[in-house]
């Protein structure tokens, strides 16, 4: 499995910048609560969703937003070899939003016959790219890893209007097996066509076939996701465009990852 991740990294460094971000996830211990309570999370980067067998996910950029819009801090943060764990104390009724947003620049170039890659800020980029770099491509990256947990009645969710994100026809903490889910993908707050979406149910190691759904958003930015059975689902979406904010990059790579719990009827 590490081999596959290595391939992804290699592919990313060569031609497919959107592959970056595959397999990031935040896994809450509960998504539906009756009473204010503590929820614990695993955060990791793996191929098999929710099977922490590769690398921990850095949570420095984690932002936890309470139903009233205030921010809370994670506690009991544990940085393990295979996963990061943290707790969050949910004291209000409504939906808490957990998001790790990372923005940056990625440069790909060639030295001799070697592919090189560097990721970092603009200032760092200048220091790390040699003057004679060939085939230099600079990409702005915007990755969002999300999860939701609700105490009591789910709150209405409002998109941030930045980067790639989604608006769900059914609240993400209100999903039931067999009921349709339509997701509308937005880029910078506007419906985005052509977003590549992949949905995989967890516990892939207990079955032969991944059974992933590969979808692409229509003109309204919408995809219809099939959630036939209860369980934890991982959703990854990506889009590349040329709406760059700075002067260095020629492309922008957007990625979005969401954990969805589907309960039985």
């Amino acid at each position: 499995m590490r081999f596959i991740i290595a391939l992804f990294a290699l592919a990313a460094s060569m031609a497919a910048p959107v592959a970056y971000g595959h397999g990031f996830w935040l896994l809450p211990s509960s998504t539906v609560l009756s009473e204010p309570d503590t929820v614990t999370f695993d955060a990791a980067v793996t191929n098999d969703p929710f099977h922490f067998d590769y690398r921990p996910l850095q949570i420095d950029a984690l932002v936890i937003t309470a139903p009233d819009g205030s921010k809370i801090d994670p506690f009991n943060v544990g940085k393990g070899a295979l996963r990061t764990t943290f707790d969050a104390k949910l004291e209000q009724k409504g939906t808490y939003h957990f998001a790790i947003v990372r923005e940056g620049l990625r440069a790909n170039w060639k030295e001799g016959d070697q592919n090189r890659r560097f990721m970092g800020s603009e200032a760092e980029l200048d220091k790390n790219i040699p003057a004679d770099a060939r085939d230099l491509v600079v990409t702005e990256t915007f990755n969002r890893v999300e999860s939701f947990v609700t105490v009591g009645v789910p709150s209405k969710l409002t998109p941030s209007g930045r980067g790639l994100e989604t608006v769900a026809s059914t609240h993400p903490n209100d999903l039931v097996a067999g009921e349709p889910l339509v997701l509308q993908f937005l880029v910078d707050g506007k419906p985005a066509a052509g977003v590549k979406v992949e949905v995989v149910k967890g516990q892939t190691r207990y079955r032969d076939s991944l059974g992933e759904q590969v979808l692409e958003s229509d003109q309204d930015g919408k995809v219809s996701v099939d959630l036939p059975t209860a369980g934890m689902y991982w959703l990854g979406a990506k889009l590349t465009d040329d709406k760059v904010a700075g002067k260095r990059a020629s492309k922008r790579a957007l990625a979005y990852m969401l954990t969805l719990e589907v309960l039985p009827q």
Partner: protein, 175 residues
């Protein structure tokens, strides 16, 4: 007073009283079976009404653990009565007068609900389903439904049997 009047007065009185004492009623009997469990906890039970589109029309009863041990509250596990929780239980606040109560032991338990009074209230005419949903700590969850029409023209006795967590569930409708 003539004979005619004498014969009519009791009938009039009967009519007057019937509207007061014979309001339509739903009587629900829920049998909680004896289960062979290593560690048995009394089940959480909800009795509610749903419309044909599965939306909730009324919550009639919620039985949950009234114990509080430190930060552990019985209400923490109300979400495990999954359908009731999702369809409206989560919007209610417990305890709820005339609706919530303690969990019950093994045996038959009778609940009566009168039209015009909380929690049944005034139910619009139409098709409904009585839903009894149960969830037990370290045990299973079960849900049974009994369809009925409201208001009933005549007395009806309806029954459905649970398979694991519920025994016979009976619905007696008094018009």
């Amino acid at each position: 007073m003539n004979k005619w009047a004498l014969s009519v007065i009791p009938a009039l009185l009967a009519t007057v009283f019937s509207t007061q004492t014979n309001a339509a009623e739903l009587e629900v009997k829920v049998n909680i079976p004896r289960l062979n469990a290593a560690e048995y906890h009394r089940p959480y039970v909800t009795i509610w009404l749903e419309r044909p589109d599965q939306s909730m029309a009324a919550t009639l009863a919620v039985l949950y653990s009234q114990e509080t041990r430190g930060a552990d509250k019985g209400t923490t596990w109300l979400k495990d009565i999954r359908q009731w929780w999702r369809k409206g239980g989560r919007a209610l606040s417990m305890p709820m007068d005339g609706v919530s109560g303690a969990t019950r032991p093994v045996g038959e338990h009778t609940f009566s609900f009168t039209a015009g009074q909380a929690p049944l209230g005034t139910l619009a005419a139409g098709d409904y389903r009585l839903v009894v949903e149960t969830a037990r700590e370290k045990g299973d969850r079960e849900l049974v439904r009994i369809p009925f029409s409201w208001p009933a023209r005549q007395a009806e006795a309806l029954q459905v049997n649970g398979e694991r967590e519920l025994g016979a569930v009976l619905l007696n409708i008094k018009p």
